[in-house]
Amino acid sequence: MTDLLEVRDLTVHFDTEAGLVEAVDGVTFNVRSGEILGVVGESGSGKSVTALALLRLIRPPGRIVQGAVRFEGTDLVGLSEDEMRAVRGTRIAMVFQSPRTALNPVLTVGRQISRLFELHQGASRAEGRTRTIGMLKLVGISEPERRARQYAHQLSGGMCQRVMIAMALATSPRLLLADEPTTGLDVSIAAQILELLRDLGRRTGASILLITHDLGVVAEVCDRVAVMHAGQIVEVGAVRAIFARPLHPYTQALVRSIPRIDRDVTMEPIPGMVPSLLAPPPGCRYADRCPRVLDVCRRDRPAPRAAAPDQEVACHAAEVEDAPARG
């Protein structure tokens, strides 16, 4: 599989009154075509900011300080605003966390979708309407003609999320950024939405970047997973490998904090909180919470090392057999 998206050393800073917040710090990962990459981490670990940075929608006081975002061979960071606008919505689309507030309250949901066909593909109003009905059918909405004429507040949460997905997929993007798409939905609806995402991803060949704080979701739908902590990616790899043999102490703690009903193990919460990103100390940002902290951890920032064929970890203490260090 080839890489659809290659993010190198992406760094996003926010100039706040309290000082410089290093929200995303040197993040490097890739998304292969057709795969679902999960990005997990606690609240405030920089997952959403990373997604917005990919679309170059970080607004002041935030800014992309450095890094490259290679998408389909072009570096998005270097594009003009006009070129970037053409990428948004057509090549990369986004599904939001709270569908009800991400839909415009004064426009019918059908109008919001059909506008995309008019905006990006120069479709006529009638044509947009027909294709909208098609999209609503595709995402499993019954009575699409009637639903298209309704407003967000008249639809259920799950229905709204289906509409958001229809909107995101309307112009057949190659990459879908899904920012906690199942937050606020009840468990069975959430499962349906995830199923729908995975299914549509497969059918359209689009890759999905799935942001979540739920490792259960990752285990269920993702091919690979990137674990974020305090604005940095601490471990990336195939879902199977990471769950079987987590190497970073943070990933290990995350895996241990999943409640299990099939085995008799106690759930262990992770001590401490995500450290402040206001002028973080040099070295590993997990050091203060880490049970296996070494002296070197407080001095040097750990570089990602290949640990297995499809697993990379950024940790001084992780046992990595004979793998060469990667700069």
């Binding site: 679309l55 929608l57 606008r85 053409a86 990428v87 948004r88 919505g89 057509t90 689309a93 986004m94 939001f96 966390q97 709270s98 507030t101 991400a102 839909l103 415009n104 309250p105 004064v106 426009l107 506008r115 995309l116 905006l119 990006h120 958001m164 909107m167």
Partner: protein, 277 residues
């Protein structure tokens, strides 16, 4: 729903009827008015209230009722044009300032502050005095003094809606800034705008009348409520009370109606009032 709630309140229902009645008679003035408003009748000068002249006649024997009806026409038209212009201009400025922020915001808002530093009526007087008192200039004067109201209102609303998730969503699908503002954000600012425009209509009518009262608004022979009141004021002492009473009453009734409807709309559209019976 909302409409029902507007008509359920007897006071606002009455006010709505008044606005409707005034608008209708103004539109149909040539057919509704019993006489030509400019036609003098030497036989019946300063005639009191009677069956022939329900609101009496003036010093030239012109029918007061016909003049009041035709005056309403010009008052409503001027107020409506001025409100429409101020609303369009003010919304555009406010939307630009609020969405764009930065120096655009500073420039627009400081200019608006400069306009607001003058008492609105004095400013309107100065404008008509300087430009001459044609109907177009009265419209312009009122529009200019009303622009700040809408600019400030829409700027505030923009600051709120531009941070919403649907604004963010509109950006992620590649809309241009002006498309986001016009298509996605402005429609969400309409409710407070409607309230403001209704209240401002009443105020605009009052300003037209006041300008004309002091001779800087609509000038004779065109009849206008304020100017008729001014003319009639001279006859109060000599006992021709109908000349000042009826045009003055027309002003009061119309302005009151707009204010009442505006207030009721505000209560209805206030999010905190939603669901409250």
């Amino acid at each position: 729903m909302r409409w029902r709630r507007l008509t359920r309140n007897r006071l606002s229902f009455g006010a709505l009827c008044v606005i409707l009645a005034v608008t209708l008679t103004s539109l149909l003035a040539p057919w509704v008015a019993p006489y030509d408003p400019d036609n003098p009748d030497a036989e019946a000068t300063l005639a009191s209230v009677s069956m022939r002249h329900p609101l009496g006649t003036d010093v030239y024997g012109r029918d007061q009722l016909s003049r009041v009806i035709h005056a309403g026409r010009i008052d409503l038209l001027v107020a409506l044009c001025a409100t429409a212009i101020a609303l369009t201009l003010g919304s555009a400025l406010g939307a630009g300032a609020g969405y764009r922020g930065g120096w655009v915001d500073q420039l627009v808002m400081r200019s608006v502050d400069a306009i607001m530093a003058f008492p609105a009526f004095i400013l309107a007087m100065a404008i008509t005095a300087a430009l001459g008192n044609s109907i177009a200039n009265v419209v312009a004067a009122i529009a200019i003094t009303h622009v700040p109201i809408y600019t400030r209102l829409i700027r505030g609303e923009m600051l709120r809606v531009r941070e919403t998730e649907y604004a963010e969503a509109a950006r992620t699908v590649g809309n241009r800034p002006h498309q986001i503002v016009l298509y996605h954000l402005l429609p969400n600012c309409v409710p407070p705008l409607v309230v403001q425009a209704t209240l401002a209509m009443g105020f605009a009518i009052l300003t037209v009348a006041a300008l004309s009262f002091i001779g800087l608004g609509i000038h004779p022979p065109q009849s206008e409520w304020g100017q008729m009141t001014a003319e009639g004021a001279g006859y109060v002492v000599s006992g021709e009370w109908w000349l000042v009473l009826f045009p003055g009453f027309a002003i009061m009734l119309t302005v009151l109606a707009f204010n009442l409807v505006g207030d009721t709309l505000r209560d209805l559209l206030d999010p905190r009032m939603r669901g409250v019976r």
